[in-house]
């Protein structure tokens, strides 16, 4: 059977952590021979719908990307190409039979990371560095905080938004500012945060992707998000002739394998691991739910 033709349209360069999760998942699927993968990156909002149409015209079967800034237009394009599946990160609803949506839910993993962090901090002050306060960033940071609070109810939380998705040196400065305010564990929604931790010899947590290899000794755990699970689900529905007009966010849940914690055992005290693993199992079994909070953390 020939591989499915898939195109990624990334509005940022694919180094952006979020895009890189889509990108890597699709590269892997391509390596396994399931899909043929092409992509465009750094596509401005004005040009996004054109990129969608051009790929659709080229005969691409599944287009993966982000509709956040082009919700209306993206659905219009989907309407014009009923045979193409559009799998889009979106805050809105699915549309027709071919416009599939997903959100980025790795708050469960963030919760677990928080549980580890809560046990490891001496100062009890925790910093988070985010890009801009959009819902998916907010829920992630709330997830982390809930995890911390679960094991350390008196925790104090700091937050910085750097106002842009792409300024690692600035994320680093934000991290340093938090360390100066007493934080000794940083949750880095943005790359660059861990650099601050590394410089001051404290510990950090990565988000979406695994930063432990990049920052050994510094990043002890990561709230991993696996886009692969969502992609696989959407591809399977398409293959089975089922409608793609659904929300695939749920495949990002831990019980579906869509997000999980990865941590470096040697860096974490044993007494922290045990309760965390218990919760992890509970989440996977559907017995524990991490509350979702979209509001802007303060």
């Amino acid at each position: 059977q020939s591989p499915v033709k898939v195109a990624g349209i990334h509005s940022s360069p694919v180094e952006n952590a979020w895009n890189s999760r889509l990108h890597v998942a699709m590269l892997e699927a391509a390596k396994r021979g399931e899909i043929d993968y092409v992509f465009s990156e750094g596509i401005a909002g004005t040009d996004y719908s054109r990129a969608m149409r051009e790929y659709a015209e080229q005969g691409v079967e599944v287009i993966v990307g982000e509709a956040y800034a082009v919700e209306r237009e993206a659905r219009q394009v989907a309407g014009d190409y009923p045979d193409t599946t559009f799998l889009m990160g979106s805050s809105g609803k699915p549309h027709g039979d071919n416009f599939a949506t997903f959100g980025t839910w790795n708050h469960e993993a963030a919760y677990l990371c928080g549980m580890l962090a809560g046990k490891m901090s001496k100062s009890g002050i925790f910093g988070s560095v985010g890009a801009i306060p959009i819902p998916e960033v907010n829920m992630l940071i709330h997830g982390f905080r809930q995890g911390v609070n679960a094991v350390r109810p008196d925790a104090k939380h700091l937050i910085n938004f750097i106002g842009t998705f792409f300024d690692p040196p600035k994320a680093r400065e934000a991290g340093l500012a938090q360390i100066d305010s007493g934080a000794d564990i940083l949750f880095g929604e943005r790359i660059g945060t861990a650099d601050a931790a590394k410089e001051r010899g404290i510990k950090a947590i990565g988000s979406l992707t695994d930063y432990s290899a990049r920052y050994p000794e510094t990043v002890f755990s990561n709230a991993i998000w696996n886009f692969g699970a969502i992609l696989a689900a959407a591809l399977a529905d398409r293959k089975a002739g089922k409608s793609n007009g659904q929300e695939y966010t749920r495949f990002g849940l831990m019980k579906e394998g869509g997000n999980d914690i990865s941590y470096v055992k040697s860096m974490v005290p044993a007494d922290a691991i045990e309760p965390m693993e218990k919760v992890r199992a509970a989440i996977k079994a559907g017995e524990f739910e991490v509350k979702i909070d979209f509001s802007e953390p303060t």
Partner: protein, 314 residues
């Protein structure tokens, strides 16, 4: 309330300030040198981006860090040569050419980067400059850790600023540069070739800009990301005016700007998100405009800035 003021007396704030200021100092000095010779170089944003990319790429390919900076400087010089050819020799409009070069240099650096480093998860890293302690100075209380635990390029930036201040004020070459920026005909009449002076200034100035960019990827951070320059170059253009075209004040301007940035990040931790973070980010720009208004009377713009000079044309 006291928290807000206390921040000013933390070591971390001040060591951040110098680090944030360093690329701005390089960029501002570069733009300042060009403008002192009468050439506005709006290519700065792109040239800094290219410097950030190529310096990092060189180190990633095995060069040592100083070679990386040198490669960045050389490439910056090449863009300077391009800008000078277009604006000095051909006399094309300086700001339009500059914007064109910014578009070219930045998109070109993303393109090269993507070809050299195929898209992957997170970009690879290099081992950046380590902070360099200065004997005695670094051991001082407060001042030591606040100011003297920087990486070598930061000290270099300050050194370059002092050199440039001396050069402009006290040497025949500096005088030649200044008079070219004031009235190229006067330079020519004294046997100083304004075209060569402008070429030289734009080339060296652009090299400095590129070094400023490379600082971001070789010292402040350790990888290159497309679009990571985030308007730092434009800030330098403002800082040149803010510093009334004086290198020593360029340090001051850059530090003030960096102070704002570092301060607002810390203020967020004290005040929380009660005030939209955008307000803080706006402050440096608004204050620069305010400073321009206040200083406008005393600022002496190089009189021939943006005026092309063609030999034998009146």
């Amino acid at each position: 309330m006291t928290d807000i003021i206390d921040i000013l007396f933390t070591v971390g704030l001040w060591s951040s300030v110098l680090r944030i200021a360093t690329p701005l100092i390089f960029g501002t000095l570069g733009a300042l040198l060009c403008e002192r010779a009468g050439v506005l170089n709006l290519g700065i944003e792109g040239i800094m981006t290219f410097g950030a990319m190529i310096g990092w790429l060189a180190v990633f390919q095995g060069a040592d860090l100083w070679t990386g900076l040198l490669v960045a400087a050389l490439c910056g010089a090449l863009f300077g040569l391009l800008h000078a050819s277009l604006t000095v020799t051909l006399g094309l409009s300086q700001h339009v050419t500059g914007l064109g070069i910014t578009l070219f240099a930045s998109s070109f650096s993303y393109y090269i980067f993507r070809i050299a480093i195929p898209a992957q998860n997170t970009p690879p890293t290099v081992e950046p400059f380590q902070s360099l302690d200065i004997p005695f100075l670094s051991d001082l209380a407060f001042v030591g850790p606040a100011l003297f635990t920087q990486t070598a390029p930061t000290y270099l930036a300050i050194f370059v600023a002092l050199i440039m201040a001396y050069l402009l004020a006290r040497t025949p070459l500096g005088l030649a540069i200044r008079i070219t920026g004031e009235n190229p005909h006067a330079a020519e009449a004294q046997g100083v070739d304004p075209i060569r002076v402008r070429y030289g200034s734009v080339i060296v100035g652009s090299a400095l800009m590129a070094v400023g960019g490379a600082f971001l990827t070789l010292s402040a951070f350790n990888s290159f990301f497309p679009t990571m320059m985030q308007g730092r170059g434009w800030i330098c253009i403002a800082l040149v005016v803010f510093s009334t075209w004086k290198p020593s004040r360029a340090i001051l301007g850059a530090v003030l700007f960096a102070l704002f940035d570092a301060y607002q990040l810390r203020l967020q931790n004290v005040l929380g998100q009660a005030v939209p973070y955008q307000i803080f980010l706006m402050m440096p720009y608004l204050l620069s405009i305010l400073a321009l208004v206040i200083m406008s009377r005393s600022a002496r713009v190089p009189q021939a800035l943006m005026q092309p000079y063609r030999k034998g044309e009146r």
